[in-house]
């Protein structure tokens, strides 16, 4: 491949993988089962598009099943959300180039909730941090964070450098987290991830979570993982009863421990906003919603009407939205006044511009990950449970935590 026998695109890709592998001390590459690529116009711009174009022009073609993370646009709602023509056209150009490389436009960050998942021990190269930590900690698959260009490279070569979470020794717990809080709502699971991530903040740290009494659902684990990744840049955790394989290595933990209690979660829910403050937009996203989450949202909104001064947005995958439509959930949410977008995640949709266009300043969400992200787009953000988010959307004002 380095000699160019598989074409110049594969050679370019492999060179980049070797350079990164050298940085991290990898002495070989491992074959991967799949690649998952984060690539949208909002984050790539012309520079990223031109990089993809060079790979296409060099004859690039995927060697393993490869999928894309959410895009920046739901074309059905782009005009209603007044997304710029530059963003829409840019997104179209990126989609075209990805398709030419052979990358499937599934446009989801939660493919593990809708598509076949890799078996424990399988090497993959995934490029959404929430998907990565879910793959490592819940599925037992093996992947590092793969950035957009790196995941494209892995797709083109069918392999990835063997360092980090591809290696047994890097997957063992390094910090014991004594959890005394008992999270229930997804927002609380996200807050737990945030509280831990804020204390650890190191990609190479692997927390062992102890003390959680309930068996969490896929959605709760999704929010936990997304927050650990967002706040701590963590890519792996161990939760007894969830994480495949032995956690016997925990016995050898060298005294590194942290405590996380209810007060730590409350600090994540704390906000500059006061009870009764007006709410502009309520967003359910980051990660995309599963069918179960949409069903719960629909149940909460059934027969009610969203406040005329509030916009309620939810994002999901196209597959899930279709299922929600077939089961009537979508109609219930839309009748209440909510919008369910597919193939995108709200924070990829140029949220700063959207905020300025619609005058949105106060955002309420049940996503602790979005709480972290939206501040870069100059929103005042408040985290609330799913039920409290719905109430904020109905009443137009923030409730007491």
């Amino acid at each position: 491949m380095l000699a160019g026998e598989h074409g110049p695109a594969a050679r370019i890709a492999l060179h980049s993988q070797i350079a990164v592998g050298d940085f991290f001390g990898a002495d070989h590459l491992v074959p991967i089962e799949s690649a998952h690529v984060m690539a949208d116009w909002d984050v790539m711009g012309a520079g990223g598009r031109d990089y993809l174009r060079r790979l296409v022009d060099a004859g690039g073609s995927v060697r393993v099943p490869s999928t894309r993370n959410p895009g920046a646009v739901d074309f059905t709602y782009a005009k209603r959300l007044r997304q710029s023509s530059k963003l829409i056209e840019g997104e179209q150009s990126v989609r075209t180039l990805l398709t030419r490389l052979g990358i499937d436009l599934v446009d989801t960050c939660v493919g593990y909730q809708t598509m076949p998942t890799p078996a424990a021990g399988t090497h993959v190269a995934w490029g959404d941090t929430g998907a990565v930590i879910y793959a490592n900690a819940v599925l037992g698959a093996r992947t590092n964070y793969e950035s957009g260009p790196a995941a494209v490279a892995a797709a083109l070569t069918g392999r990835t450098p063997a360092y980090g979470f591809h290696l047994d020794q890097m997957r063992a717990p390094t910090v014991r987290c004594r959890v005394t809080a008992q999270p229930r709502d997804c927002a609380e699971w996200g807050a737990l991830g945030a509280a831990i991530g804020l204390q650890l903040r190191d990609y190479w740290t692997v927390p062992l979570l102890q003390g959680i009494e309930m068996q969490p659902s896929s959605d709760q684990l999704k929010h936990l993982g997304a927050s650990l990744a967002s706040y701590g840049s963590l890519a792996m955790f161990h939760l007894p009863g969830v994480t495949p394989g032995p956690t016997a290595a925990a016995a050898g933990l060298a005294g590194s421990e942290i405590d996380v209690g209810a007060e730590d979660l409350e600090r994540i829910f704390a906000s500059d906003a006061q009870a009764g403050d007006a709410v502009d937009v309520v967003v359910f996203t980051a990660p995309q919603l599963s069918l179960a989450e949409l069903e719960r949202l629909g149940t909460m909104l059934d027969g009610r009407h969203i406040h005329p001064e509030v916009t309620l947005l939810a994002t999901t995958s196209a597959v899930t939205r279709e299922a929600a439509a077939a089961s009537g959930i979508l109609s219930t949410i839309e009748t209440a006044g909510g919008l369910v977008l597919s193939g995108t995640c709200w924070y990829l949709m140029a949220p700063k511009a959207m905020g300025r266009t619609f005058g949105w300043r106060h955002l309420v969400t049940n996503s602790a990950k979005l709480l972290n992200i939206a501040k870069a787009s100059e929103y005042a953000v408040t985290l609330r449970t799913t039920e409290a988010c719905v109430e904020a959307a109905i009443t137009g004002s923030l409730s007491r935590r």
């Binding site: 991290f24 964070y145 190479w204 840049s233 992200i373």
Partner: protein
Amino acid sequence: MSTTSTTTYQLAQALGEPVEAPALISTRPFSARYDLDRDTGVISRLGHPLRGRSVAGMILICPGVQGGVAAGWTFMKLAAHDLGFAGLVFDRVNPVMVQGAQAASLAIAAGIDPRVFAAVANDTVIRLDPPHRRLVVLG
């Protein structure tokens, strides 16, 4: 890492070509998505100590990283508009920063002595020398 003089810092890991540029010191873990306006190259996160500062032509020195995969494309996007970093130096780093820097032909290093944060002020000119795994403070 140990220092060989008061103005030279050794680096544990490094990639890219040597570069000289002013330093931009952040005591907060860096995220391309959470901290930056990626259209302007300006630190935009509410409450960030460097809010309002442009990263264009600067070598970021930062203890660590947070969040995710956006950096992989962001460095290219910024570079296409001459708004990008000149280099990146971390104590602890994740793969995304390295992958993104490599793809954007940006010098990057990790494993710097944390004392650098107290010793080097913003806008001090430094030389990041990945082949020799060192950072030299030029003043």
